[in-house]
Amino acid sequence: MSQVARSQPVYDVVIIGSGAGGGTTTKVLADLGVSVALLEAGPMLNPAKDFKEHKWPHDYPHRGAEEDGGRYFGRGKGFGFFAATEGDWQLEGEPYTVAPGSQFRWFRSRVVGGRTNHYGRISLRFADYDLKSYSRDGIGTDWPISYEDISPYYDKAEAFIGVTGSKEGFRSAPDGIFQKCPPPRAHELLIQKASQKVGVPCIPARLAVITQKTNGRPACHYCGECGRGCVTASNYSSSQVQVFPAMKTGRVTLITNAMARELLVDDQGKVKAVSYIDQTTRTERQVKCRSVVVAASACETARLLMNSKSSKYPNGIGNGSGQLGRNLVDSTGFSLGAHIPALEGLPRYDSDGMGGGHVYMPWWLWDKKTDFPRGYHIEVGGGYGMPGIGSFSGIANRVEGYGESLKKTIYEGYGTNVGLAGRGEMVPNEGTFCELDPSVVDKYGIPVLRFHYKWTDYELKQVEHMEQTFTEILEAMGGRITKPATPVATEKKISVGGEIIHEVGVARMGDDPKTSYLNKYGQSHEVKNLFVADGASFVSNPDKNPTLTICALAWRTAEYLAEELKKRNV
């Protein structure tokens, strides 16, 4: 039942989604004096109460295995009990489907701040060539913008949210506005030496963690648990760093538990209101707007746009091009670990540091010939992490037995493993897209997405290259790699689509309205007051984790929108 109060305010902008894209848009518009309503499908976030940053496993009788012991049976919260996710691979009553022959996993987070509350915080600029790949090799599609267009917005985003790093003058990893990165952990210095020995550069990490006081936020206190959320907001989350401060301007109305269902259009085909389901009462409500910014996370954005059907837009709002849902891409993922004898017997030390590696390897072969078209970067893991459920299950299960000898093996093995993880660019292909499932709706009656996903030789060859490189690096530090007894096909080694949670591209930008959904400002080609400010606008998905670029592009879109509102163009 629709409840439209006559006196209901009309907001300059309704923003759908409070993650990296929505949070940035909210902050920038509020600062520019624009009144916004921010819709979030999940509940309010209370960091002091919700985050388990400083907790020990023994603060809970279940120690992190969850109340029902679900952790022992493959159930329980994604990324573990302590993570600040408020979301998961499956949400109760909100299914998605996967077409026969495809595999896809979709991580959704319903809470103010979305996935930025727990994400890895790796913050990498796209390189100039990343935006013009087609011009270089004839594969994929060029972006309608160049590095010069986006660079000033990287500057703004980095200066505001705070990113660590060092000036390297490396083409594949452009320098930015960096705060000082803490020194490498002991095993990371070793990885760095081994990496350099085999010709792979290894440089200080670029993480959205502040190591100096920034905009009233205190510097990192090095507890290593960024994934649990940070009570001092010393890392970037859109909730704490953008949404809450923006609310203090008095220009932001945050509406939580509001699951957007449809964009409603007027006679001219412009968006006049957003229809949403109030999750607490399961009733439909509407919020009126002069313009709308959709930033619900790429696939959720595509779903909302596809579900906004009308006589004017039978295939979904603004979808004359049919591009909605196409060009879906995740990052490729592959990991390899090894036991490092050189780490045995090292005196224990506090290796917490920032939440994430203090070093990483940017793509280094951009100007060399490889048998696959696009690059990858390498992330590192290791150290003396806080013991938790399952930390020593592998070793106990391998050595078996019991008693003092088992304890000794566990003690000696602690902190002696390192891991390398590759994240690479996938080229969009015809077989990878999402669409509305014709026969399934969620608990609100909203049609759900069906995913089609396919890796091609481009990605499989890249992953083979990762395995070869990681083996060289690990062996260069004397590592003992545990290899499976029988060879595993590359199709099984590569991550499942969606698993890296870098899914983007389903409403891409471009200059040609026939082959793209948005223009270069993230504005719909067909509907002038409709904007998209999340990863849906990506034309390609370089080996640079998408969040920083989502922030930069959302900043640009928000400034453009504020200008257009002023000129009364939308």
Binding site: A48, R63, L346
Partner: protein
């Protein structure tokens, strides 16, 4: 500082945080770094308070058997309240409950057949003799009748390890130094030197 005063200061900090939420009517209180440090330290002091544990699922005999078994698997396990941990989860999980009540029963019956005594009443050498058989998967080949015991022991070991190394005692013993709050992250030069030297880089 006594344990109770540590806990009360922690409570005060948490109340302070909760108060900030109400006052601002917005959920964005930022803890200062010193507050964060305090919470981290206070959390470290908050171990389970004393008192005799009453099993939620296991009978007193089962619980005692589990305690003895866990202590053999991980000497010191009782300091980590590992049997309590298993009992807590088994009370909330039917699968775990079946694995543990069944497994403990199997242990008693098998010991009864071997030496005419329940597991906890057998001599230490008799206990380890049986455990030596079920602590290794390979033994199932020659002794198929041991398979249920081997399966159970795998679970008992897995949860004794988890229970112990997630306890304050286990975390201290393994040498975890983190979960603190410090103004600076640093690694001593001699650690770098040692690692590089051992790997042949220096």
């Amino acid at each position: 500082m006594s344990d109770s005063s540590k806990l009360s200061t922690r409570r005060e900090t948490l109340i302070k945080i909760a108060g900030a939420v109400t006052a601002a009517n917005l959920a964005q209180p930022l803890l200062s770094q010193s507050d964060a440090e305090h919470v981290h330290k206070a959390a470290a002091a908050s171990t389970a308070l004393g008192g005799v544990y009453k099993p939620k699922l296991f009978t007193p005999h089962e619980f005692k058997t589990l305690q003895v078994l866990s202590e053999i698997i991980i000497p010191g396990a009782s300091k980590g309240n590992t049997a309590e941990f298993v009992d807590y989860l088994s009370a909330n999980n039917k699968e775990l409950a079946a694995i543990f009540t069944g497994g403990l029963q199997w242990l008693d019956m098998t010991m009864q057949k071997r030496v005419d005594a329940k597991f906890i009443d057998a001599k230490n050498a008799q206990q380890t003799e049986l455990l030596d058989l079920i602590a290794y998967r390979r033994n199932a080949q020659d002794h198929p009748e041991l398979a249920p015991g081997i399966r159970f022991f795998t679970w008992a070991r897995r949860m004794a390890v988890d229970g112990y190394y997630t306890s304050a005692a286990g975390i201290k013993e393994i040498g975890f130094k983190g979960n603190g709050a410090s103004a600076k992250f640093e690694v001593k030069q001699e650690l770098y030197d040692q690692v590089l030297r051992k790997a042949g880089f220096a």
